[in-house]
Symmetry: C2
Subunit: 349 residues, 2 copies
C-alpha cells in the first residue's frame, strides 16, 4: 500500500467470523492506516480480499509476517496467539489478542476502552481483549460501580452460537431445517467441538459453554468471574455466572443482578448513570414494550441495557438485561477500539 | 359411559395444548373414572375425541355441563374460569383451575402435590394450579428449604413458546422457516397476543412474558414471586425473577440462585436432598456433560435438576439449573396429580 503515513496493521485470523468484522471496522476507522496485512493459516493463504478499493492477498501467518508491523490484531485461536504473538512483539509490533491465551497474565492489560483504557499504558507488547460475555457486562456495570460502589454480581447468560464460530452457525441452521422437516438433528460442534458429547442446539438450550473445570463451573463461567474482577479492579467483588448457549446466531443477552454499596437508590438513579455512560444505550420503556433483544442489537456497536428494576426485597439490589452484538463490542469492535486508543495515546512503540 | 364406579370428570378447554395433555394423562391415571366429559367453546363443540376405545363428542361448556360432575379440570383461560368455575362448584363439582384467576385468592389452595398437598384439605371447591415456571422451581426448592431453610431466591428463566399456546408454536415454526429462507418474519402473537407490539421469537430472545405491571416487573415475574411465597408458606422469603421467552417449543429451564439458612453446606448436601425428593430427578454429572436441557426433558413428568454448584463467594449460596416440561409438570400433569390426591384423600365432596 505504498508510503502513506500512518500505522502498519496486521490482522491474524482474517478469514474467521471475528477477523472479517475487524476488516470491516478498519474500513471505517479514523486511525491513519499506512498498510493492512491480512494473515491466516496456510489453508487460507492466497485468497483475495478487497479493502478500500485495493485487493489484498491473504498470506500465511509466520514469524516473519510481523516485520514492519506496528499493530497486530490476533483472532485465530489461543494456540496461534501463544505461538505468534511473542514473535510479533519481538519484531516491534504491539499485539491486541482476542483469545483467552494471555487474559489472566498479570503483565497483560485486559481492556474494555470505556472501562479501563488507562491500563493500556502499562502494556509490555500484548494487550488482551476480554471474553465477549464479560465485555458487555463490565461496560454496563463499571459506570454503576464508579457512581455507587458494587459488592456483588450474579449473571445468567443467553449466548448466541456465533460465539462458537462459523461452523456452529451452520450447525444451528442445518439442525433447524432438519427439525422443521421432521428429520433427525446432527450434532457435531456444540456445546464444545473438542468435548466428548454433542447435543442439538436448535430449539434447545445448553447449559455448557466451554469445558467444565474441577469446581463444576465451566471455563466460560470462570472467565466471566475472573476477567470481571481484573477489568473492574475489584478483587473483592463477588461474581457468579451461569452461562447458557441458545439457538440464535448473533448477540449475547444477560440477566444481571447487582448489589451496590450506596443505600437509598432507585431504578431511576441507575438509569441516569447508564444514560451518560460511554458506549452504552439505555433501551428501557416497559410502557412501550421497549427493551433490547439479540435481533435488535445485531450489527450495532453499543451495549444495550433494558429491564432496569430495583429488587423487591433487597434495598441495594438491582436487575438489568444487557444485550450486545458478541462479534462487534464482544470481539472485533472492542479490538479495533483498543487499537485506536493505542494510536491516539502514542502507545504504539 | 354408563354406570362404572368412580368419578365423573370434566375437562374444560379440551382442545387446547394443556387440555389435550390432560386427556392423555387421564388415560393412564389410577384414579377410578366413571365418566369423562370434554368441554370447550361453542366453536369446538361437535368435534370427536377417542378416549379408551370410546368416542367422546366435545360439548360446549355451559353452567349445566357440570351437573353430576365430581371434578372439573379447567384450562380454557382466566375469563372462562371466572365465569364457569363457580357454576361448577354450585353444582357440586370440585374445580382444579389451571389459570391465574384464583391463584392468589386466600380461600383457594395453590398446590404442587409434592410440596403442599396438605393445603388441599382446606379447599372450598376451587383449587388453583400454579404457573408453569413456578411449579418446577418450588418442586426443586421446597425439599432444600425443608432441610436447610431458605432466605432468598433469584431466578432467570428460559421459557418455551408453548407456554403461550399452540398459536405461538406455529408462529415460531413459521418464523424459523422464513428466516432460514431469507424472508421477513411475521410477528402477531409473541410476546403477548393482546399487547401493543409483537416481535419475532425465532432466533431471538424476548425479555417479556405476560404484560408489564406498574412496578416494571411483568405479570409472569410477579406470579413467580407471589406464588412461590404462597406455596412454600414463606411470606418472608426474598424472591426475584426475570422471565425470558426463547425459541424452543417445550420445557422451561431456570437458572436459580438460592441462599439457605444453614452454614457449612456444600453442593453434595444439596444434591443428596434432591436425590430423595419426590418428583425430582438429579441429572448432574459435569464430567460426563450430563445436565438437563429443554429437549431432554420434553415428554417427561419429572423436574430435572443439574449444574448444582456452591457459590464461589457466598457460603450459603447455591446455583441450580432446573428444567421440566411446561405442559406436563408445569400444567397438565400437576393438574391430574391434584385430582388424584383429591380422590385418594376423599376430598371430592
Amino acid at each position: 500500500m505504498g508510503e502513506k503515513p500512518g500505522y502498519h496493521v496486521a490482522v491474524v485470523g482474517a478469514t474467521g467470523a471475528v477477523g472479517e468484522r475487524i476488516i470491516e471496522l478498519l474500513h471505517e476507522t479514523d486511525m491513519p492506516l499506512a498498510s493492512v496485512k491480512l494473515l491466516a493459516s496456510a489453508r487460507s493463504a492466497g485468497k483475495k480480499v478487497s479493502f478500500k478499493g485495493e485487493t489484498i492477498e491473504i498470506e500465511e501467518a509466520v514469524p516473519e509476517s510481523f516485520k514492519g508491523i506496528d499493530i497486530a490484531l490476533f483472532s485465530a485461536g489461543g494456540s496461534i496467539s501463544k505461538q505468534l504473538a511473542p514473535e510479533a512483539v519481538k519484531r516491534g509490533a504491539v499485539v491486541v489478542d482476542n483469545t483467552s491465551a494471555y487474559r489472566m497474565d498479570e503483565n497483560v492489560p485486559l481492556v474494555v476502552p470505556e472501562v479501563n483504557a488507562n491500563d493500556l499504558k502499562k502494556h509490555q507488547g500484548i494487550i488482551a481483549n476480554p471474553n465477549c460475555s464479560t465485555i458487555q457486562m463490565v461496560a454496563a456495570l463499571k459506570p454503576i460501580q464508579d457512581a455507587f460502589g458494587m459488592s456483588r454480581i450474579i449473571v445468567s447468560t443467553y449466548q448466541a452460537v456465533s460465539g462458537s464460530g462459523a461452523t456452529a452457525c451452520t450447525e444451528l441452521e442445518n439442525q433447524s431445517e432438519s427439525y422443521l422437516q421432521g428429520t433427525d438433528m446432527q450434532a457435531d460442534i456444540l456445546p464444545v467441538k473438542s468435548d466428548k458429547k454433542h447435543y442439538p442446539i436448535a430449539f434447545n438450550a445448553l447449559p455448557q459453554i466451554d469445558v467444565f473445570g474441577e469446581n463444576d463451573y465451566t471455563f466460560e463461567e470462570m472467565k466471566m468471574v475472573n476477567e470481571t474482577k481484573k477489568i473492574m479492579h475489584a478483587p473483592e467483588l463477588k461474581v457468579a455466572a451461569t452461562c447458557v448457549r441458545l439457538p440464535f446466531f448473533r448477540s449475547h443477552a444477560e440477566s444481571v443482578y447487582v448489589e451496590v454499596e450506596k443505600e437509598g437508590l432507585n431504578a431511576a438513579d441507575i438509569r441516569e448513570i447508564l444514560e451518560k455512560a460511554p458506549g452504552v444505550t439505555v433501551q428501557d420503556n416497559p410502557a412501550e414494550q421497549d427493551y433490547p433483544t439479540p435481533l435488535s442489537a445485531e450489527g450495532r456497536k453499543e451495549v444495550f441495557v433494558g429491564r432496569i428494576r430495583k429488587d423487591l426485597d433487597e434495598s441495594k439490589g438491582f436487575h438489568l438485561w444487557i444485550v450486545s452484538d458478541n462479534l462487534l463490542k464482544g470481539a472485533a469492535w472492542n479490538t479495533v477500539q483498543i487499537a485506536e486508543q493505542l494510536a491516539a495515546n502514542h502507545l504504539l512503540s
